[in-house]
């Protein structure tokens, strides 16, 4: 390598290149010789006690806050599928529910335990209803929901893909079993306004259900599975259908029915006029009506708070036990 007197910048560049290469070579050497710089923590008793104490100190307050939040949510749950059958039909519920000539209206009275702040969410809860059954979930056609009659292949929806020779939109068991109980809420002889818009997820409304797709030949077969749809309303506005088609995770689930946008005071009596149309009697299912406020955490569930407090307090107990044993048995 020729070094000339005035050529210092070239020298620097070469020197830098060599140093970069030697640094890379050094790192590569460390890698191949398994000698990389490493952190080697050792589990000492002080670390153990500190970790457990820290866990307890963090978890117990979180648990208490969560429990308090869950207790601040006010929930009214009322099972209505047994009460809403008139006395004379209680012996044969299935034939009562299937008889379309009988009017299935029913009245419930709910007492508000504490002041409930708006918005109050109305859900219907179904128990022992396996919306997560594999064959049930398979029975839908997403292409048809987006594009309507233009999509040809609806084989996944069989046997609910057509009736009387014509294709059904929306096809499949999920749509066919649409929940069709309706609820009206009356407080002191004035009806509470229930907002039934925006109950479905925005992504479902905008991207999974077509704006130009209308129900066609729906619920026209010999077997009626649930509710029917207004053929003049496009699928993206049929919020009940959209909420229903987002299948639940577990056999006991709630789906949003609507929202009450005004406050309810303590000791108010709400009269609920409902139409008990949906058949859950053939398989021993249960139907419940739920009115609930919501907190920053969501609905009412004490489990998270209790679990946090339990894990936190067990950590503290474990750390104390460990400290005791460590001190008593010197090594």
């Amino acid at each position: 390598m020729e070094v000339e007197g005035g050529n210092t910048s070239a020298n620097d560049a070469v020197a830098r290149k060599i140093s970069i290469q030697s640094r890379r070579a050094k790192v590569f050497y460390q890698f191949t010789q398994q000698n990389l710089p490493a952190c080697k923590p050792v589990l000492t008793p002080s670390w153990i006690v500190t970790t457990f104490l820290l866990m307890g100190v963090i978890f117990i307050p979180i648990g208490l806050v969560t429990l308090r939040t869950s207790h601040s949510v006010i929930e009214i749950v009322e099972r209505y599928d047994t009460e809403c059958i008139p006395e004379k039909f209680r012996g044969n519920k299935v034939s009562y529910i299937k008889d379309s000539t009988i009017l299935k209206n029913c009245s419930l009275y709910l007492k508000v335990p504490k002041h409930m702040k708006a918005p109050i969410y109305i859900y219907y809860q179904l128990d022992n209803y396996y919306q997560n059954h594999r064959r049930y979930v398979k029975s839908r056609n997403d292409q048809q929901l987006l594009h309507g009659l233009k999509s040809n292949d609806t084989s996944s929806c069989q046997p609910e893909d057509s009736s009387n020779g014509l294709p059904s939109v929306p096809c499949g068991l999920i749509a066919w079993s649409l929940f069709n109980d309706t609820f009206k809420f009356i407080r002191e002889s004035s009806e509470l306004v229930v907002n039934r818009k925006n109950i479905a997820w925005k992504s479902d409304r905008n991207h999974k259900f077509g704006k130009q797709v209308y129900p066609f030949n729906f619920q026209n077969g010999t077997f009626i599975g649930g509710g029917s749809l207004d053929p003049s309303v496009p699928l993206s506005d049929q919020e009940d259908l959209i909420v229903w088609m987002r299948t639940a995770a577990l056999p006991s689930f709630r789906k949003m029915y609507g929202r009450i946008e005004e406050d309810l005071d303590a000791d108010d009596v709400i009269a609920v006029h409902l139409m008990n149309n949906y058949n859950t009697y053939s398989f021993g299912g249960k139907k419940k009506l739920v009115l609930s406020t919501s907190s920053w955490l969501g609905g009412k569930n004490d489990f998270l708070g209790v679990a946090y407090v339990f894990v936190g307090s067990s950590s503290i107990i474990i750390s104390l036990v460990f400290m005791l044993l460590h001190v008593k048995n010197p090594r």
């Binding site: 050792v42 396996y130 049930y136 987002r246 006991s252 709630r254 609905g299 998270l304 474990i318 460590h326």
Partner: protein, 318 residues
């Protein structure tokens, strides 16, 4: 002889490469044999046994959550997670940390391996891959699955999981459980190893981050392709504080049993490499006069352990 032995080591030298060609390992000089056995032999044994146990553990954790879910789906065969989540589990979200473990893990440094040759007996006596160990890891997997499944489904049950009142559905529960599984399994790896280079950190935390990135990317594909995962993290789960709190609770509760076991084991029944690590940490390096005799300057526990190992060896030789 090289072919007949369990492990044949050939030395390449002036007499040609014939030994090298028929051996499992080849070294250049005879003195390298010590390093090959004591350092790399010990490391390899620990890496392989830990890797196999951990593989069983992580797949049991994942598989059993699917199994418990079936009890709630009337055993119809509906998986708890979206198909693509399940396909990518063993490929993207949990494979890299295991590779880092299998290739780079060192419980004791090379210098200390050479200094305490009795550490090699851990491999000879199959201490790290005995049936109790294997079954212990497997039951850890089953227990983790139980904790993950039941804590997640009870926390995110049928109530609203966000302030805007939306109720839980299949997508949200799937993502919540799967996130807990990925977090728990990767953090379990972080708890099990004692050697962290930038590679381990990158692989472990990177795998967890990759899961969330995958959810965002997969969720932004059109719904005809991403079906149940469409916008699930961005729209549904991420704004829900309940989801994050549940993940934290479930991950910590899942790792608690193993951490408890490890805490008591390293303090009250330490294994030979635990003792060496502790001694290195305390910096009290006592001199051992020769590699073969037991020095009286070693701490009592190390001596007892060494005698125990020697007794085992004598028993096996009889």
């Amino acid at each position: 002889m090289l072919q007949e032995a369990d492990i044949g080591v050939g030395i390449s030298g002036v007499e040609g490469m014939q030994a090298v060609m028929s051996s499992d390992y080849a070294i250049a000089q005879f003195r390298f044999l010590e390093r090959l056995l004591l350092v790399h032999g010990h490391w390899c044994y620990r890496r392989i046994s830990m890797m196999i146990c951990y593989f069983f553990y992580k797949n049991l954790t994942f598989g059993f959550t699917l199994f418990w879910y079936e009890a709630y789906a009337s055993f119809s065969g509906r998986p708890a997670y979206n198909d693509w989540y399940m396909s990518c589990y063993n490929v993207f979200f949990t494979s890299l940390p295991v590779i880092a473990l299998g290739v780079f893990d060192q419980d004791v440094s090379a210098r200390l391996c050479l200094k305490y040759p009795l550490l090699y007996q851990e491999g000879v006596q199959n201490i790290l891959f005995s049936w109790p160990r294997i079954l212990g890891w497997m039951s850890n997997g089953v227990l983790s699955a139980i904790i993950i499944f039941f804590f997640t489904t009870n926390s995110i049950f049928n109530q609203a999981f966000r302030k805007d009142g939306h109720a839980v559905d299949y997508e949200v529960l799937g993502v919540a459980m799967y996130s807990s599984v990925v977090w728990a399994v990767n953090c379990q790896m972080a708890l099990s190893i004692n050697y962290f280079t930038w590679i381990q950190h990158f692989f472990i935390w990177g795998s967890i981050a990759l899961w969330y990135i995958f959810l965002v990317v997969y969720g932004s594909l059109p719904p005809t392709f991403s079906t149940t995962a469409y916008k699930v993290l961005v729209e549904a789960c991420a704004p829900s504080i309940l989801y994050w709190l549940t993940t934290l609770l479930v991950v910590v509760s899942t790792l608690l049993p193993y951490f408890l076991y490890r805490a008591f084991q390293t303090r009250f029944r330490p294994m030979y490499h635990d003792l060496i690590q502790r001694q290195r940490l305390e910096g009290s390096e006592t001199e051992i006069s020769s590699q073969t005799e037991v020095s009286s300057e070693l701490p009592a526990q190390v001596e007892i352990k060494m005698q125990h190992l020697k007794a085992n060896l004598r028993q096996r030789n009889q």
